[in-house]
Amino acid sequence: MAGFIIKRLLQSILTIAGVITAAFFLTRLAGDPAILLLPPEATAADADRLRAALGLDQPLIVQYILFMGKAATGDFGMSLRQAIPAMDLVIERVPATLELALSSFAVGIGLAFVLGILMRMTRHGWVRDVITWIALGRQAIPIFSFGLVLILIFSIQLKWLPSYGRGTFAHLILPALTLGTYELALYLRLFNASLAAEQRNDYVRTAFAKGQGRIQVLLKHMLPNALLPLVTVAGINLGMLLGGTVVTETVFSWPGVGRLIVQSVSQRDFPVIIAGVFLISLVFVVINLIVDILYGFLDPRVRLA
């Protein structure tokens, strides 16, 4: 177990180094920030002076080596727009992203869990059909239009909930529902398929043959097995939620990391982009590690080595 974690941590460092390397070169492809930073009437000499000040006049490979050396110590440089360290700008946005990601994750997984079990337990075919159609229908609507519809109904018509910004629990409801219900369809489908696959296993028939009841067979025997594929997908998805809820954050003017990165891209604020990407890749790697460790606990067949 300890050996497994050390091995995975070493792999993780390589992964993250690879990601920020790619981010470094890709952002350099986006164009020259000096032009954007300077007022339109600035001369070519002004631009050269700015480039020298930012270190952009050096050969790319030198820039890269200097950058990686600093990054290793946690220094991603100053934001080109604001005189604040890039990392501080990103960290400032983390609580907002975390709040939205975790709450929508909980909405998606929680609903999928309840509805999935309901679909297995019900004797009425129409209940299954209705749940399936609602979940599919929700997934067919893009995030931005569903979010706008929610705003239209609950903020503008009914005036129950705020339509933008962050602060109170009421602010959280609409974005979390928008994102969470989108996730729901995926989880529900997967959960249902894996429950159906487990149902065909002999251990289910054996449990019935022991005299066990339907609910106990479902909860005690099938559920722990059916959760395994769900854990993998949920882990990947949580990582995506933590990094890329850009559309939802934009629709609800939610001050999260995703929106910060998008803004930074349009402003060619390289240090902030890279710091954001670094943080997201860190989150991904950590979540994947947690999923693998969780697997070892959930499934005795998995040996962590």
Binding site: Y203, A207, F208, K210, G211, Q212, R214, H221, R301
Partner: protein
Amino acid sequence: MIPQAMPAAEPANTVLSVRNLSIDARGADGKPIHLVQDVSFDVFEHEVLGIVGESGSGKSLTMLAVLGLLGPGLKIVSGSIVLRGQELTSMAFADLQKVRGKAVSIIFQDPLTTLNPVLRIGEQIAEAIRLHNPNKSKAEVKARVIELLSLVGIPNPERRFSQFPNEFSGGMRQRVVIAMAMANEPDLLIADEPTTALDVTIQAQVMQVLAEVRARTGAAMVLITHDLGLVSEYADRLAVMYSGRIVEQAPGEELFSDAKHPYTAGLIASLPQIDHKVASLYSIPGFVPDPRKRPSGCPFHPRCAIGRDRPECSATDPALREITPVRDVACHFYEETPAWLGQQRQISAIPADAPEATKDDTEVVLKVSHLEKVFNIGGAAFRSHKLHALRDISFDLRSGKTLGIVGESGCGKSTLARVLLRLADASGGDVFLNGAPFFQLKGNALRQRRRDLQVVFQDPYSSLDPRMKIHDVIAEPMRIAGSYSAERVTQLLAHVGLPPEAGQRRSPEFSGGQRQRIAIARSLALNPDVLILDEAVSALDVSIQAQVINLLMKLQKEMGLTYVFISHDLSVVRHISDEVMVMYLGRVIEQGATEDVFDCPSHPYTRALLAAIPQIGGKSDTEGMIAKGDLPNPMNPPSGCTFRTRCPMAQPLCAEKEPPLVDHGHPGHEAACHFAQA
């Protein structure tokens, strides 16, 4: 023996009484598909009723119906199931729950899927106890579980109690399943192919455990299997099922010594024998009919040697009728069956004046010398374990001959096939194909020479691409080699007994036996010299297996093919092979001419394998011959002779020194044992 009318009262010793049971499935077009039709039988106290039949005969469905465990879409349409005086077909779920696991329990085929992988063994058995004894305390339940575990012969039951199924070997898992089934001492135990997923030495151990626990509780048992040898050895009475109905019922010995239904007789004639060689096997033509397209009259008549051309058989379906107080048969002409079977035995017997097997005068096609294969298990960076999968394998295979390779799972026989095919790289040793070195070849030269060596795998379902037309499946090797011709495909189809139209269809439209024919046709497309047959007939039903074996032997004779025939089934190996190699933990422990190895086995492992095979007709004497315990961990094999931990004759010397593979006074017949019998 079976009253036609519903009985008013059961005899007191009747455990289970099934009458006129019919089970339907809902067809795609809404029309019902009759899967089980009008099946009636009784099971009495203390007895074992064997139900035999091929896949699709309805044998498992019948017994699942007893437990009320029919899958969705299947339902009992008529008939009754009475267990100890209680009618089960009309019982509510809540009442059925009290019967299941208490009065009747079931053992499924594959212990790997029967046990829940995420629950501890102890809990899975305890669950069965608690459900029917809610008043038992936690300690009482645990004590009972440990008692059950030791009853089925699991060492260290206290420690094993809290382990997970993946920490048990296949044989140990099936013992756990037996413990679970016996938890409440049921009146009736249903064993559905209980040993089919296990190796033959483990099968013998598990059947022994089953007999012991039944002897203690007096439970009756229904043993469902496709293995005629197994039922012959363990069942008191037998019912033979075909296409959803019982076609013959008789006491065990009588059924095998005097089969009355032509289907039963056909099955017996198509089984290869372990104790003697026959010239050829009888094979029942055709295949089990699709229940949606059952033939008119007797469903067996199109395949029947006796009734095929008789109008009566195609017009009227014979009822199951009593011919002696203990025998029933469903056939218009059952009196003719014994004469037919006698005739078959004469045809298949090797004439006494048959010439000796041809001398080894042909040239060596495949020469293998000192082949080694080591796997590194686990991460390369940290500690890695070495698994010696093949150790010092050598043989010469002559043109037109068959080398049989036998051994239980984990012995390295499939690794050998992969290494010979160069699908895996050898760690040492050499292979010569037609006299030229094969292992040093690379790139284009390898691709050219590889065509001389082809393979047929075990599972014809996964070895054929379901989206490709059969014509393209067979043509693919030729297209790669640039020798494609449509006539050649047709010719190959004809070789394996399929019509030219078959080429235009896709593999899902074919049965298992037909698919294996297609796989054989594909392997022959490039005119190979050597075919590696890796368990090529193991997944097939008995009647189909005989067809494919006969086909392989015919092709060998016609085309001069050389076979490496890998199988766990010793009877089939005996029938088809000229020479045999017995493997254990990656090593050859005995090798020689087939007759020598089977008639005078030198190595105790070979003797244990042979003794463990259930035989038709008479219980074999296996006392002291059963290999003890399980296969040792191949990562950490025992010192000296690797078989010593399971060997009934092990001595201190065996732990110190590994015996070399040498002959013991009979040139050409070698065994690796310090105490080999000459």
